[in-house]
């Protein structure tokens, strides 16, 4: 167990509350090939991180381990004080409710309208329909897609689909936001807008992790940057004062 202090509740400064702790995380999909090797990382509540590195360096793998889609081959991972590797399968939903996830491949449901795609995380919480409508509309307005609420994702452009995925991830105001290449298919202007949305969410005290190749974007927004190469951390850049 880490020694770092943890407290929750209003009024606490975020500075010392550790949200995500990775200890010696390694992942091997195939014998002899390490997708991740001995990753140690502490991410505090309210921090805004970029994870970058060339294709195949293990960015997606790292995110998948954090939201427990896959298990690491070695190491331990603690999120908000809970060792998620010891979390029994039937309790994973508790972890997932604290997270919003934007997948590299979007994972939208193509037989459901944009509205339902975004609302799915709210249905699960048993929120009243009226409240769901309000929140879905707000989330879609955030990504500037509210006028396409009743379309099917297959009628949207790639970039629009990506924004639906983003709206779905932020709609239940999760404590942790994980985004895998969320701007990969957007033009630079829209990419900046989307990252601004993430910044805004971050300003409300949420922890944000974004995987990205986009150097321009990282230079502009990144105050904490993790460089991965062949599954290893080859560098960390942490600005003492975040640019806002």
């Amino acid at each position: 167990m880490p020694a770092s202090s943890r407290s929750s509740g209003l009024g606490a400064t975020f500075e010392n509350i550790v949200m995500i702790e990775l200890y010696h995380i390694s992942k091997q999909y195939q014998e002899g090939q390490w997708a991740l090797l001995d990753i140690n990382l502490h991410i505090k509540k309210g921090e805004f991180w970029f994870i970058t590195g060339p294709s195949g360096s293990g960015k997606t793998t790292l995110l998948k381990i954090i939201f427990r889609e896959i298990l690491p081959t070695r190491g331990q991972i603690v999120i908000d004080g809970i060792n998620i590797l010891r979390l029994p399968d039937h309790k994973i939903w508790k972890l997932r409710r604290s997270m919003g996830i934007v997948f590299q491949d979007f994972r939208l449901l193509f037989h459901k309208k944009v509205f339902d795609n975004v609302a799915i995380g709210l249905y699960v919480l048993g929120i009243p329909v009226k409240e769901i409508r309000r929140r879905v509309f707000n989330a879609l307005r955030l990504v500037n897609l509210h006028q396409k609420m009743w379309e099917y994702p297959s009628h949207l452009s790639y970039g629009e689909q990506q924004r639906v995925a983003i709206a779905r991830a932020v709609v239940n105001e999760p404590q942790i936001l994980l985004a895998d290449e969320p701007t990969g298919n957007l033009d630079p202007e829209l990419a900046f807008e989307i990252i601004s949305v993430f910044k805004e969410i971050n300003r409300q005290g949420k922890t944000v992790l974004i995987c990205s190749h986009d150097k321009e974007l990282i230079r502009h927004f990144g105050d904490k940057i993790l460089f991965l190469f062949k599954g290893k951390i080859i560098g960390k850049e942490v600005q003492p004062f975040s640019r806002k």
Binding site: F67, K94, R97, M99, I101, R107, L109, I120, G121, V124
Partner: protein, 286 residues
């Protein structure tokens, strides 16, 4: 639930198969009900008729009457003279008047009709009683429908047994049908289930719709079978026509009793639930 609509063709198909399964069970139960009813109707009429020799002496007749009256289990004795027997026949079959006239003489023998107590009628005791009187001189023949009642009752039991046997097999079949439909539905919703997991749906939340689907299929199937059975029972006599006379009673199927209907629906609802549960435990790993 909207899943049920989404895959309506597949679901309708399986509901129909379930309905047909339960329909077969229903037909046998209905048949059994019918035979049971006939048996009880015959048992109402617990009369043993002892026909007398035409040339019987008064002494013999008096002995017979005495013996019948003295028998335990006999509630009531009635003498039917030859004239009365003829009159009865004429009343029952007026269209045969001419045949009787041609005969020229009264063909009917006189008889003693003994009405038995119900519990005696169906017991072995009755047989001994009847044999004893039959052995008396002057008794020509004995007629009673005890055997019929017994036959009817055992037929009814047979129909019910077949109903249970087939029912068991078909209910098992509907269990597998439903579990298979649910499996297909789980696979069809694989992506959605994955997303639901990722946004923090509990297992109950994910499983409940499938359980309800199984339940609905079971209830729908059995309700459909009851409706089909009803139509079948209504149409069957019409199809055969009214010309069957006495046989009509056999053909006129009786509908299931309320408790049988409820049992059928609850049984198939249970099968639906169990079917989807078994499917979920195998194909929706938690």
């Amino acid at each position: 639930m909207n899943n049920l609509w989404q895959y309506r063709v597949r679901n309708l198909f399986s509901a129909t198969i379930i309905a047909l399964s339960f329909l077969i069970v229903g037909v046998f139960f209905s048949l059994s009900n019918n035979l049971q009813f006939l048996a009880s109707q015959l048992a109402e009429n617990m009369v043993v008729a002892f026909f007398l020799n035409p040339g019987i002496s008064a002494r013999e007749q008096a002995r017979i009457e005495e013996a019948v009256k003295a028998s335990p289990g006999v509630a009531h004795v009635n003498f039917v003279s030859r004239e009365e027997a003829l009159a009865r026949f004429q009343k029952s079959f007026p269209e045969l008047e001419d045949i009787l006239k041609n005969l020229g003489s009264n063909p009917f023998p006189a008889s003693y009709e003994a009405v038995l107590q119900k519990k005696v009628f169906l017991s072995e005791e009755a047989l001994g009683l009847i044999e004893g009187i039959k052995a008396l001189p002057g008794v020509e023949d004995v007629q009673f429908n005890r055997d019929w009642v017994k036959k009817m009752q055992s037929l009814s039991r047979l129909a019910r047994a077949i109903g249970f046997f087939l029912g068991g097999i078909l209910i098992l079949a509907s269990f597998f049908i439903i579990s298979n439909v649910i499996r297909l539905n789980v696979f069809a919703r694989k992506n959605e289930i994955e997303i639901l997991r990722l946004v923090g749906a509990t297992n109950t939340f994910i499983r409940l719709p499938f359980l309800l689907e199984g339940l609905t299929l079971g209830v729908l199937g059995s309700a459909l079978s009851l409706a089909l059975l009803y139509i079948l029972i209504k149409l069957f006599p019409l199809y055969l026509g009214q010309s069957l006379g006495v046989l009509q009673e056999f053909i006129n199927l009786r509908y299931l009793s309320l408790s049988q209907c409820i049992g059928l629906v609850i049984g198939s609802a249970l099968m639906g639930l169990l079917g989807s549960l078994s499917s979920l435990s195998r194909f929706l790993k938690i």
